[in-house]
Each structure stands twice: as C-alpha cells, then as structure tokens.
C-alpha cells in the first residue's frame, strides 16, 4: 500500500509541475496584453506601461515563472489582475457553487442510473430493458444546454416554480440556494445518468457471464441472489471509473450549463479570465483544477482497492 501511495504522490507532483510549465508557456504564446484589455482603445502608451509595471508584467518571462511557482509553493494564489481580489477568494466563491452543483448532479445521476442499469441487466431483452435503453439513448443524444433551455421554459417561464437562473448565494438560505441549483443539476445529471445506466447494464451483463456466477448458480443461488451478492460488486468497478471521470468533467466543464442558467461557477470564471487575459487567475485555476483531478483519480484508485480486495493483495506481494 505504501509503495502504491508513494507512486501516486510522485505522479501527482510531476503532473502539477508539468501543468505549471505548459500553462505558463501557452499564456506566453497567445496574443493579447492584459493591460490593453483593461484599458481599451483610448489608452495612452504611458498609461499602458504604468499598468504593466503595476501588474508586474514588465519583468522577463523566467523571472515571472519562478516568482509565480515560488508563490504557489507558499500557497499564495496571488491577486486577480482585473478583479483586484485574491484569486483564492474568487475560486472559493465559485467552488461554493460548482461543487454542490457537481455533487448534486452526480448524486442525481447515480440514484437514477444504477437502479435502472440493474433492472435493465436483470431483465435483459425484456420490455423493461428496452425502455431503459431507449431512455438512455435519448439522454445521450439530447445536448444538455438544450435540455436546460427546455427545463427553463417549462418550470420557470410557464410554471414559475423556480427562477430561470442565477444564484442567490448560500447566505440566502439553504433552500433558495438549492432551488436555483435543481434545474441545472437535472440538466447536467440526466445525460450523465444515461451514460452510467448503459455502463452499469453492460458491465453487469459481462460479469453475469463469468464462471463464478455460474458456480454460484450451480450451488443453488437464485438469479436475483447471484446478481446482488456476487455480480454487482464486480460490475461496479467500471461504473466508479466513469463516475470519477464525470466528476472532473462536471466540476470544470459545466460551463455551458453555467451560461444557460447564468450561474457564477468555476467554468465561467476561467472562461472570463481567459477572454480578459487575467493571466494569474487562468494559471492558478488551471493548477488548482489539475490538482483536483489528480486527487480525484487518487480517490478513485483507492475506491478500486475497497471494491476489489484482489488489488490489495497484489500490492502486498
């Protein structure tokens, strides 16, 4: 286990270092000057120079890289060029929306998809199976932003049950805040549920063909008992993999849904920061997100070990 952990941590450090190099080079290469974006078309050259000096952009690239990494190692994410507030504060504000939204969507998709996948697998080629697979086909085919718009039209514009978008903030209370996350979570979660249901079904079906299931059945276990006691645990490994991937994708990649529901989440922050050339925000967010993804993968790896004891044994030897 300790070798396993050490390997994982080494990968984590290496990944993060590579991330800093790549993102720094990319931002050096793309055209666009943060000072010019902030000061616009009427700015005097001396004003631009003054602002560049204020932002520390007049120093050579290598100096800027090392001072950035040094700050990062001290846990300092710097001050946003445009917003003039600490980047850590900006990210925390946005995570307070993106993380609950992602978790909400994941919970929703899990609660829907796994039972459906199990039903479909146990009733293979029966009407229930066709129904579930039909649903998931539809869920995969519908783009989530369009689905989001449909939800808004029905629940906000016609029924007026929930606001069409925006986020009142957690200080407005738990229920108003969650209320504004319901439609986005459904819009995000349902297509994911469709994918998960498919994966659950096919993975279970595969496991059900295995020898040990036949053995269990031969020993007198019912079809149901074989599925629940023996197949499910094995069948869930690919499902957990997919969920781990989905989590990272949803956390930073919900940008389209954030736009449709005008939620101030992480995705929108990074998008805005890129278009405004708020380089410090872009760089540090990329590093934070990369760290998050690496960390989630780490958790997923540990979950494998929990689900599949054989992996534990492998490390001991």
């Amino acid at each position: 286990m300790s070798v396993f952990l050490a390997k994982r941590i080494a990968t984590l450090v290496l990944t993060l270092w590579l991330t800093t190099v790549v993102i720094f080079i990319v931002l050096e290469v793309i055209p666009g000057d943060p000072a010019a974006v902030m000061l616009g078309m009427n700015a005097e050259p001396e004003t631009l120079a003054a602002l560049r000096a204020e932002l520390g952009l007049d120093r050579p690239a290598l100096v800027r890289y090392f001072s950035w990494v040094q700050e990062l190692l001290h846990g300092n994410l710097g001050i946003s060029h445009t917003y003039q507030v600490p980047v850590s504060e900006l990210i925390l504000e946005r995570i307070a929306i993106s993380l609950p939204l992602t978790l909400f969507a994941i919970v929703l998709s899990t609660v829907i998809s796994i039972p459906l996948g199990i039903i479909a697998a146990s009733k293979q080629n029966k009407p229930a199976d066709f129904f579930v697979m039909g649903f998931s086909q539809l869920g995969i085919a519908i783009p989530n932003f369009w689905f989001g718009l449909l939800l808004i039209l029905f629940f906000s514009v016609t029924l007026r049950w929930v606001p069409a978008g925006g986020f009142p903030g957690w200080e407005a209370g738990f229920f108003p805040a969650m209320g504004s996350l319901i439609l986005p979570a459904v819009a995000l979660g349902l297509p994911q549920a469709a994918i998960l249901a498919r994966v659950t079904r096919s993975s279970l079906l595969e496991v059900l063909q295995e020898d040990f299931i036949r053995t269990a059945r031969a020993k007198g276990a019912t079809q149901r008992r074989a599925l629940w006691r023996h197949a499910l645990r094995n069948g869930l490994i690919p499902v957990v993999t997919i969920m781990g991937l989905q989590f990272s994708v949803l956390l930073a990649g919900a940008i389209i849904i954030e736009n449709v529901f005008y939620l101030p989440g992480l995705g929108r922050l990074i998008f805005q920061a890129i278009s405004q050339r708020d380089l410090i925000v872009v760089k540090n967010m990329v590093v934070v997100l990369a760290a998050t993804v690496v960390f989630i993968n780490f958790i997923v790896d540990i979950l494998y070990v929990v689900i599949d004891p054989r992996l534990r044994g492998g490390d001991r030897g």
Binding site: L39, T47, E54, Y83, Q84, E93, A164, G166, D278
Partner: protein, 496 residues
C-alpha cells in the same frame, strides 16, 4: 354558531382586502436590472470596460459635471463655473454639504486630488487623454477650484462629465475597484462576483433623493438566458438587450415594453489605409459603393440600427447625412476597382471581434464584397487578440467594430491610430475645433470634418448601433438613449 362564522368570514374578507389594497398602493421600490457583461471592477477611473460605467456612473460616482439623458452637460458636484476670457481658465464653484459614502466631506482638495491622480505619471486612467490639456489644478478656498489649460479645449466641460473623470476620496481611491466609494445617490452594498451587484439608496445624498430603495444589477451573459429571465420575471429590465433577434418575441409579452434608442456607437468597416490595395482612394471608394448598409442592418441587427455615411452620431445636431453619397452601387464599385488596377478584384483578410454585430455583419460584408470581386478571408478573433493584433500592431486589412466613445471623430486626427489615416487637412481642422468654443462655429467645423473623412472613404461607414431596451411596462425613468455608457437610475421609479 352560524353568525360567528359569518363574523369570522367578514373579518377574513376585510383583512384580505386591506392587504390587497395596501400592496396595490405601495409601488415597488426595488429594481433588478440585467446586464450582459460583468464589470471587471468598479473603479471608472481605472478601466475602459463600458460595464463599469454602466453600473456606477451617476449612481455611485459623480464628477464636476455630468452628462444627462440627452447628452447635455449639466452641473453636478460643481454647481456652477466661470470660464475666462481666453477660454483657458475654468473656475469651478463646488456644492457644499456633499459627503462621500464613507462619511468624509467633499471639498476642493478632493477635486485637486482626483484630477491630479487621473493625469499623474502612474495614472492608469483609460482616458488619460481627457486630462492632457490640463496645466494646473489649484485649490482657491474650500469650495473653489481653478483649472488652467495648456490650450483651448472646446469639449473640456463635456470631458469632465465622463465616468473616467469622477471625483474620488483620497482614503478610498485605492480600494474603489472592489468597494467603490463615491458621492452619488446610491451606495454600493455588495458584489456577488459573477452574479450580481447590489446598491442601496444613499439617505445622506446632497441632491434630490432617488425613489428606488434598492437596485440590483444581475449579470446574465447568455442571450437565451436573458430572454428567459425577462419572461420568467426574474429581472425587471434590460437597458441594453443583447439579442435583437429575440425582441420580436418579447414584444408580444404584455408585461414588457420595448424601447429602441440611440447609442454613440458608430459601427464601421475599419480599413487599414496603409496596406495593400486599400492605400488607393479608388479602392476605398469601391468598398463604399459595394456595401449595402440596409442589408447589413437587417441581417446582422434584425433591422435595428440607423445607416451612417460618416463617423458621427445621427442624433447629434451637427450630423450631416452622407449616406446617399456612396449609395449601394456594385457596378460603380467594379468600375472603380478596374480603374485602380484590379479588374479581377483581389484577396484580403477581415478580422472579426466576438460581438454579434461584427461576426454576423462580417459575413454579410464578405458576401457583398465578393460580388464586386473582393474575396475576403474571415478570421474570427477574441477581443484580447483584436486589441493586440488589429488595434495595436495594425496587422489587418479590414475589421468591423463599433466605436462607442461619444464625440470621437478626433481619432481621425491621430495618424498612428489603427486606421493609419494621415490627413494634414483633417488634423488642422481638429486643432481648429479644439480651439473653438462657440457652438455654431463648432458644429460647422464638425460638419466639415464629417465630409472630409467621408470623401476620403477612410473606413466603410455602416450603421449607428441601436440600444434595444426591454423593461417592465410599469417602470419609468430609464434612459431611452445612451449618450454616454451609463445606466443612470437616479430618476427611475415604479408606477405600480
């Protein structure tokens, strides 16, 4: 028993009626207004983003003068002023009893501080050029300030009404970006970044108190989301609605009112006058004849916008309508191209910034120019790229952009500007304009200036950007036009 029920019933009905009556009588006193772009920060003296002024101008911050809904200069923190005989010395008499939102009193030393900060060496004021004519700023008593100018500047009082020239307090100047402190009728309350900015009524205001108790600016970047938010009643108004294509749909909603107004945005096909074929006047003339303005307005703006024939706002009294001079005439365009030595046309590049008018307009321009033989390669660019490549390095042939600064015809006198237009005649004329204070004489010069750039076909002149406002039919007092980039809420109120 029976009668008791009746009594209770009666009370219940009476209560209901009272509630209904009281809620009907008390008009709403809060406003939620949608905006597409979030301001990067809230200090109008340190950024070019229009969104900053659209939140704070006249609401939170005030200057010596202000520009009203008609584009007219009015007294603000200076209650009156005197201009010397030689038009180079301005004496401003300040209002007394004005306080910043942090409680400190406003007086002459704040004016000296604010103006010197804006024109100082380390200034990051995006419109520092406005303060260039200033030679000295002197405090003459607690409520009197004297400003002397290096040269006569006809537009000085107007310039002092820009958002970039507002008065700030020494103690809070450095933190205005995140916590703006001004003298205006609204106080900043909080900013939930990415979502909304809240302002509340300033009960300590020196002037006429505002009717709204609270104003919230809600940031909604997506046009479809903006439409849904209006239809769902989440926002009361969109002073500048982002999607002209949705206005028809909103028009059918009886709760909403659509108000089409003017802006200061001249939308032009900017041309690099020093590059390739565009150096030749005949080619630029051909370009002017090849453009069908109405088709562009219909296609890119769904019919909203006024055709222009020069770089000047059509609602300005000095505007000269030159659209007929280069009316759509592809035959003439082809002939001019042939005379210029391009009988088979040529290839060029058009770089388009992300705004919908530019992206959609660019496609239409490209198809119109193809008909006369000019084959455009369309390159979409981000705003930051546009500023770096097109605006700064002049690495472009053509582009489409809206010049939204008010009264900005003076940019044609800057020979290093991105049009690369160098006309000594025009430069001399602008110098004359600056030195002229008399209104009629100024208007005459402005007319002449419009003709020169139109004759020289410096750029393709397309249309004046319209302001499509959508708001609740019970709301009054929002600006119909935008003579400066602002959402002045000082006169806004609900009739119900």
């Amino acid at each position: 028993m029976f009668s008791l029920r009746k009594v209770f019933g009666g009370i219940a009905v009476a209560l209901c009626l009272t509630f209904a009556a009281s809620s009907a009588m008390a008009a709403k006193s809060s406003l939620i207004m949608g905006m597409v772009l979030e301001p990067p920060h809230l200090d109008p003296t340190a950024g070019a983003a229009a969104a900053i002024d659209e939140v704070v101008y006249a609401n939170i911050f005030e200057g010596l003068t202000r520009i009203d809904r008609w584009g007219v200069v009015r007294p603000a923190l200076a209650k009156l002023w005197r201009v010397s005989e030689d038009k180079k010395t301005y004496t401003f008499y300040l209002r007394k009893g004005v306080r910043f939102h942090n409680g400190s009193a406003f007086d002459a030393s704040d004016v000296v501080f604010s103006l010197n900060r804006a024109r100082g060496k380390s200034s990051t004021n995006a419109q520092k050029v406005l303060f260039k004519p200033i030679e000295t700023v002197t405090r003459k008593g607690k409520y009197t300030v004297v400003v002397t100018l290096k040269q006569v500047t006809g537009s000085f009082l107007f310039n002092m009404g820009w958002g970039d020239a507002v008065m700030v307090d020494r103690a809070s100047a450095a933190t205005n970006k995140s916590k703006p402190i001004g003298t205006g009728p609204f106080k900043f309350k909080r900013w939930v970044r990415g979502d909304r900015i809240e302002m509340v009524k300033n009960t300590d205001y020196w002037g006429k108190p505002v009717k709204l108790q609270k104003a919230t600016i809600k940031i909604i970047p997506d046009p479809a989301a903006a439409t849904a938010a209006l239809l769902a009643g989440d926002v009361d108004a969109f002073a500048n609605f982002p999607a002209p294509e949705a206005l028809k749909q909103l028009e059918n909603d009886p709760r909403l009112k659509i108000v089409i107004g003017n802006t200061e945005g001249e939308t032009i096909l900017s041309t690099n006058n020093q590059r390739g074929p565009f150096k030749k006047l005949k080619v630029r003339q051909a370009l002017a004849y090849a453009i069908n303005r109405q088709e562009i307005i219909d296609g890119a703006m769904f019919g909203f916008g006024t055709p222009i024939g020069t770089h000047f706002a059509p609602h300005h009294p000095a505007y000269v309508d030159l659209t007929a001079k280069f009316a759509y005439n592809p035959q003439k365009a082809k002939q001019l191209l042939a005379e210029a030595g391009y009988p088979n046309g040529f290839k060029a590049v058009i770089k388009l910034p992300p705004t919908p008018y530019a992206r959609r307009g660019g496609e239409i321009v490209a198809s119109q120019l193809r008909k006369v033989g000019i084959r455009l390669e369309i390159i979409p660019v981000e705003w930051a790229q546009w500023l770096a490549q097109v605006f700064k390095k002049r690495d472009y042939d053509l582009t489409i952009v809206s010049h939204t600064e008010p009264m900005d015809i003076g940019i044609y006198a800057r020979k290093d500007y991105y049009f690369a237009y160098d006309s000594p005649k025009f430069q001399a004329l602008m110098k004359k304009l600056n030195e002229t204070v008399d209104r009629d004489a100024r208007h005459k010069i402005m007319g002449e200036a419009q003709r020169i750039i139109s004759d020289d076909c410096v750029n393709g002149y397309l249309f004046q950007l319209a302001k499509g406002g959508v708001w609740n039919k019970d709301l009054r007092g929002l600006w119909e036009n935008s003579p400066v980039q602002a959402n002045d809420l000082t006169e806004v109120y609900w009739v119900k």
